[in-house]
């Protein structure tokens, strides 16, 4: 088992020495410029039946609707990751044990990791009731919440895996050292292993968040008026090719503008953790 989870300094030296020091800023700017140039190019060659200025004006007119759509994406992603984190850590902790519950937990983690998200989304949308009754009160179960749950399933499975990995990558010698100081298993987990895991889990966790955010795009397929669905409605309503091109490129840019900083932040966290 690999005990040296904190990258040895030689590894850092290696990456410093051999990969070109492409600063995050440079490649990020490159990507942004790339998106904009690519988008502008597409738009430029897109056939235009009216004036391009008019198309732009239409986009501006639709901007609030698109923004509202994207706020749904963000809401769903935040909800899914919040639920997924709690469920994932619990499932991950159960999966560590050798008991039957542990086996069931491991099995369901695998199952949810292996199910296509699209299928999970259709599944929750169709199979879950639209409202449910608790203590005589009827609570609605709106579609966006179903999609949130659908995405929380793979999110929790991923986070459970990350948690399991983080625990497993805590050197066994840390367990032994704590046990030799007369800690109980639970105390080792709470006072020694978890604090070390939390730091190690943070980068992959933000990564899961970015991936789930991108997954929310699928909610358009079950009729949630998210960014993509709104973009489709807009492009059908306006019914102009150049407007369609523009909205799709805008969608791409919006997602990029949201997810890319998260992935940079993840990278930064990873580096920071490695250095320490």
């Amino acid at each position: 088992m690999a005990h040296d989870t904190l990258a040895p300094s030689s590894v850092i030296a290696a990456s410093r020495g051999r990969t070109r020091p492409l600063s995050g800023f440079a490649s990020g700017t490159g990507a942004i410029v790339g998106v904009l140039v690519f988008g502008a190019l597409l738009w430029a060659i897109a056939p235009e039946s009216g004036s391009r200025l008019d198309t732009l004006r239409q986009l501006v007119e639709w901007a609030p609707a698109l923004a509202h759509g994207f706020s749904l994406n963000i809401l769903i992603s935040l909800g899914a990751v919040a639920i997924g984190t709690v469920a994932g850590v619990v499932a991950g902790a159960i999966a560590l044990s050798r008991s039957l519950a542990g086996r069931i937990a491991r099995w369901s983690i695998q199952a949810f990791r292996n199910a296509p998200w699209l299928v999970l989304i259709y599944f929750t949308t169709y199979v879950f009731p639209f409202e449910f009754t608790v203590f005589g009160k009827t609570l609605p179960f709106p579609d966006w919440l179903k999609v949130t749950l659908a995405l929380a399933l793979p999110a929790s499975a991923n986070i459970a895996e990350i948690f399991r990995g983080a625990v497993a990558s805590t050197p066994t010698t840390q367990w032994e050292a704590a046990q030799s100081l007369a800690f109980s298993r639970r105390q080792v987990l709470v006072h020694i292993v978890l604090p070390q895991c939390a730091r190690r889990m943070l980068p992959p966790w933000t990564n899961v968040y970015a991936i789930i955010t991108m997954g929310t795009a699928l909610s358009s397929l079950v009729g949630i008026h998210d960014l993509i669905d709104t973009a489709q409605i807009a492009s059908s309503t306006v019914a102009r090719s150049s407007f369609t091109v523009l909205t799709y490129v805008a969608t791409l840019v919006v997602f990029f503008a949201y997810c890319y900083p998260i992935s940079r932040f993840t990278r930064w966290l990873e580096r920071r953790m490695n250095v320490q």
Partner: protein, 279 residues
């Protein structure tokens, strides 16, 4: 730095009873057998440590030295034989609570220090007294400061382990074990991960402890140190104790051919190269 001189300046536990061999045994191991996945590692170990004694275990790599220590501490379970610590049968302690009670009495210092990297030095020293012994923070901290002074690291209380040199980390690890006030401390090759220049720092601290009457079992490759500090030395090979006896006898007139050979090798170039002194 002269270890003996330092030791005499220490004030804790005055007048140790190191050479009173009449005392009751603190640790008794009888006929210990252990195999990992069917591969035998210990094949009948007998070993007795009296209260206040310092005992060394030497032997070639893979001969089972670390495994013996891990059995004593209940980190692994042997298949046969008995281990008694102050009349408690270690092998009978199967529940978590029983093992914890045992480990409060037995400390363990590891080759790789195994400090908790996310805690400061002070927290490394206080976490077990507070969580396991239930001491108050104030009490645990004043204790910890005293121990840090003892291992000459008073100024490093708030550093993180990663910021310390190997020798310093190992001294923190020793202090961490001492903070639990164990009756018996097991040292497993505590200097072999250190560079030659810092080995001395750590050996001095252990020497002091032994002089103060702390019962300890040391696994070590430092023959000179073992020779000087130990009341008794055990030589293991392939999971058995080939020979044991007072340090002077075992190092001076080893009875077994194998022990002789090992000591010769351990002295290394002494034979094939002219001794350095003579250059």
């Amino acid at each position: 730095m002269n270890r003996i001189a330092l030791a005499s300046s220490s004030t804790l536990n005055a007048s140790p009873a190191r050479d009173s061999h009449t005392q009751d045994p603190l640790l008794t191991i009888r006929d210990l057998h252990l195999s990992y996945d069917g591969v035998p590692v210990l094949n009948g170990i007998d070993l007795t440590v009296k209260r206040g004694q310092a005992v060394s275990i030497i032997g070639p790599s893979g001969s089972g030295k670390s495994t013996i220590l891990r059995c004593i501490n209940g980190l692994v379970s042997p298949q046969r034989g008995s281990i008694d610590i102050a009349s408690i049968d270690v092998r009978a302690q199967q529940s978590d609570a029983e093992r914890i009670a045992l480990r409060k009495r037995v400390g363990f210092v590891f080759q790789q220090y195994n400090l908790f990297p996310h805690l400061s030095v002070l927290d490394n020293l206080t976490i077990a007294p507070r969580r396991v012994l239930g001491k108050s923070r104030a009490e645990a901290e004043s204790d910890a400061h005293a121990l840090l002074a003892k291992v000459r690291l008073a100024d490093k209380a708030h550093a993180h382990p990663g910021a310390l040199s190997g020798g310093q980390q190992q001294r923190v690890a020793i202090a961490r074990t001492l903070a639990m006030r164990p009756e018996l401390i097991l040292f497993d090759e505590v200097t072999s991960a250190l560079d030659p220049e810092t080995v001395g720092e750590v050996l001095n601290v252990i020497g002091e402890l032994a002089d103060e009457g702390q019962t300890c079992v040391l696994v070590t490759h430092e023959m000179r140190f073992a020779a000087e500090i130990s009341d008794e030395v055990f030589f293991t090979e392939r999971g058995v104790i080939v020979e044991h006896g007072p340090a002077a006898q075992l190092f001076g007139q080893p009875r077994h051919e194998r022990t002789r050979l090992f000591l010769q090798r351990a002295r290394g170039e002494d034979r094939s190269h002219p001794p350095l002194r003579a250059v």
